[in-house]
Amino acid sequence: MAHDWQPDFEQLVDEHQSMVFSLAVRMTGDRGLAEEIAQDVFMEMDRNLAKIESALHACFWLRRVTMSRSADALRRRRVRGFDLWVEIEEDHGALEEGRNSPLGARLENLLATLPAPQRAVLVLRYQEDLTPEEIAATLEAPLATVKSHLQRGLKLLRAKAESQLKEYIRRA
């Protein structure tokens, strides 16, 4: 289908690099891997630039491909026998050490301990401010599944915050 929108690759990188990088880093918990994912995502976009129909479509496309690439990277890491749990334990260590670090950073550390599907919906919900319907479209998942992951993820994160973060311990 013909479309009038003329994408400017460099401008797209400028506009969306922060979104792509943030999604990847929150999904993988690894800045280096997130940077690699971000590069791969933009390279894939360059190859498919002719199929992108609008600025909105570009944003949706980038989110979908970033989430899918991040999930693939996590899967590969598990297959390769990378000990994710050790990494999470290390994150916990960092959490223990960094009790005085900003609350946001500590919430992010807690996010890294959630199962990947719940992490994905929470990141899309609270970083990208997407509705469950938009998350379902992005992840190509049933709406009911997204809503269930959102509810369980939020509950789990809240429980972890209440048991591990001093700000929430006081409140609880």
């Binding site: 990188v13 943030s22 971000a38 590069q39 919430l107 929470l122 970083q127 809240r158 915050a161």
Partner: protein, 109 residues
């Protein structure tokens, strides 16, 4: 209607704000893009070179086969012409001999 969000969710929204990408990310992406484009162009050039070479080779081979067939046909035609000429000469010689024999028979009678 969107569901109301509580304090915890509001804090999550603040905590999960987009992070700035590393300053080198854009440069790396643009460099990889340039490299990939050059690589793609190189591959395309190699593809067209190979295609042109194949077409040239196929043309040369086809031409050689056609020329060989034409040459064989020409040689066959020439051989046939030679056989016909030999037959015509033999025919002419036999006719002459026949005529001479007939004349001799008439003289002896």
């Amino acid at each position: 209607m969107p569901e109301p969000i509580d304090d915890f969710e509001r804090e999550l929204q603040q905590a999960f704000e987009r992070r700035p990408a590393p300053p080198s990310l854009k440069r790396k992406i643009m460099e990889r893009r340039r490299f990939q484009r050059a690589d793609r162009l190189h591959h395309r050039a190699v593809f067209w070179q190979r295609l042109a070479a194949s077409v040239l080779l196929a043309g040369a081979l086809g031409g050689a086969i056609t020329w060989r067939n034409a040459e064989q046909r020409r040689k066959g035609e020439a051989a046939r012409e030679q056989v016909f000429t030999a037959l015509r000469i033999a025919n002419h010689a036999l006719n002459e001999m026949n005529a001479q024999l007939a004349a001799r028979n008439r003289n002896t009678q």
